[in-house]
């Protein structure tokens, strides 16, 4: 068995903590800077100062503080999206898997169609048509994640449905809600946890991509994606403006993935057998 992924878990803990306590931790105001202090390099580079550990951007704002506040957006968007997407996914997956027939047919065709439409494109159309807002971003991302939950839950339910203990529960006279909530749902929880950790990474990536393209959560709140975009044309003079927030995204997603992989090994008995 794989060891506990300590470093990824530590990074995740830091990510969540900074997201929640951003105002307490950040050394400077993320939205205000002095033009006199613009494009300062990180502290360890020549010309850098310990006042701005990760340097400043083209408007003289502290990179560290901006990265810390950026965690907030990612965290909130990811959490809300996941709750909504998982809810829809679980409900439709349970229904499709348990009832089968035309319910299953319709739901799974919707899933197929959804998976066939590139998320970012859909997001762009929605943003252009309906305007840019937190609600719209969350809605778009939830639409992007629910099919995978639905599909996996459905697969799991189909498998659990054939287990003898479900038949025996019916023999004992268990009602459909009882079977669904006592016998089926608990069997799906592990998959859900694993899938959620892996999907968080995808949600964070999607959110940052939307921000990068200028279709994300509207300013002034700093988002990692739009910060990378800010530094795009200044790579030659101030590489850190793009690099730092991008690194933050990668570390967060990477830690999520490593943690998710470890959870999968631990919780999914079928994969565990394969060692």
């Amino acid at each position: 068995m794989r060891r506990l992924p300590l470093i990824p878990m530590l990074i995740l803990a830091v990510f969540i903590a900074t997201g929640i306590f951003a105002p307490l931790i950040a050394p400077h105001d993320p939205e205000r800077g002095s033009l006199r202090e613009r494009n300062l390099p990180p502290a360890w580079e020549e010309g850098g100062t310990t006042k701005f550990l990760l340097g400043t951007d083209h408007l003289g704002r502290d990179m560290l503080s901006r990265v810390i506040f950026g965690a907030r957006i990612s965290l909130v968007v990811a959490a809300v999206t996941l709750v909504v997407g998982m809810g829809i996914g679980v409900a439709s997956g349970l229904a499709a898997g348990w009832y089968g027939g035309w319910i299953d047919e319709i739901l799974m065709r919707v899933v197929d169609i959804k998976l066939a439409i590139p998320t970012i494109l859909l997001a762009l159309v929605l943003v252009l048509a309906l305007g840019q807002s937190f609600m719209i971003i969350v809605a778009v991302l939830a639409i992007a994640v629910w099919p995978r939950f639905a599909r996996n839950v459905r697969g799991e339910v189909l498998q659990l449905k054939t287990m003898d203990f479900v038949a025996l529960a019916k023999v004992a006279g268990a009602s459909t809600p009882r079977i669904l909530f006592i016998h089926i749902f608990p069997g799906v929880i592990n998959t859900l946890i694993v899938l959620a950790t892996l999907e968080i990474g995808i949600v964070i990536l999607l959110e940052s991509t939307l921000s990068f393209l200028g279709a994300g959560v509207p300013p002034p709140t700093p988002a990692w994606g739009s910060m990378v975009s800010d530094g795009r044309d200044r790579l030659a003079v101030a590489w850190w403006i793009s690099t730092m927030p991008g690194l933050a995204i990668m570390l967060t997603v990477l830690s999520m993935n490593l943690f998710g992989d470890w959870l999968r090994d631990r919780l999914d008995p079928r994969l565990r057998q394969l060692g």
Binding site: A116, I117, T119, A129, R232, L235, G246
Partner: protein
Amino acid sequence: MQRYLVRRILLALVTLLAVSLIIFVMSRAAGDPRHVYLDDYSTQEDWDRLTETLGLDKPYYYQYGIFLGSALKGDFGQSIKEGRPSMEVIIERLPATIQLGTAAFAFSVIVGVPLGILSAVKRGTFLDMTGKIIALIGQSAPVFWLGLMLVFLFAVRLDWLPPYGRQEISSIVLPAVALGWFYAAANLRLLRSAMLNVLDSEYVKLARAKGVSNNVIIWKHSLRNALIPVLTFAGITLGSLVTGSLVVETVFAWPGLGQLAIQALAGNDYPLLQAVVIVFTLMYVTAALLVDIMYAYIDPRIRYG
């Protein structure tokens, strides 16, 4: 087999229909569609003419019919910014996108497939570790940032490759790598775990008992079976190539459809954007259909199912 293909084609058509419906609904949800083309200086005559072309005095399903009818003819209206038919603009940009997509796909296969196989066969070695790192970066780094980092390293610092544009042949290297990396990572991981499963199977055991050599077991008996889950996933991942091309073309100023979409977004050019979305979906659906056909070729259970 026939049944399988007919099902796939039907699904592709339904997908296109669904996308067109979403676009139509959005175009109406955004407000009076005439505002897109006309402003306060337009004459009442202009307004009336547009009302008629779009069928705005008719019920919604009729309007959708009109929309669908002109879409089938490739008519998505005039691009606001360019002042000419959207389709015309798209056709100019199409080759660049196809070129980039193909290069990225090739990169992902050339890197992902052999590394996936080798990291399964030589589990726990240096090769496996390298594969793992490539996969982890590919799945964790945002494509746009990866692109920028490549530019910073290979264009700004080392000055080996051009940072943007599509002037030289070497221009395609960086965008193709940035775009193909995620897909390569997906191929690698999937193939690795599928190979591990297959190598553990009873039929591989029987093949070994026949005296089949290790190489033949890997390349003949296992690979074909291991490709089945990879292809299942390929249909879905192809979508990420499309999505990725939006970002990569923006980062590298690659004059393709993706860049066009972003420009349309920035310029509130809805007619152009909807045309790009339809063309992208069409490309994706065609590619997915090709994958499905390949899938049937590899798995006889589908061919004769």
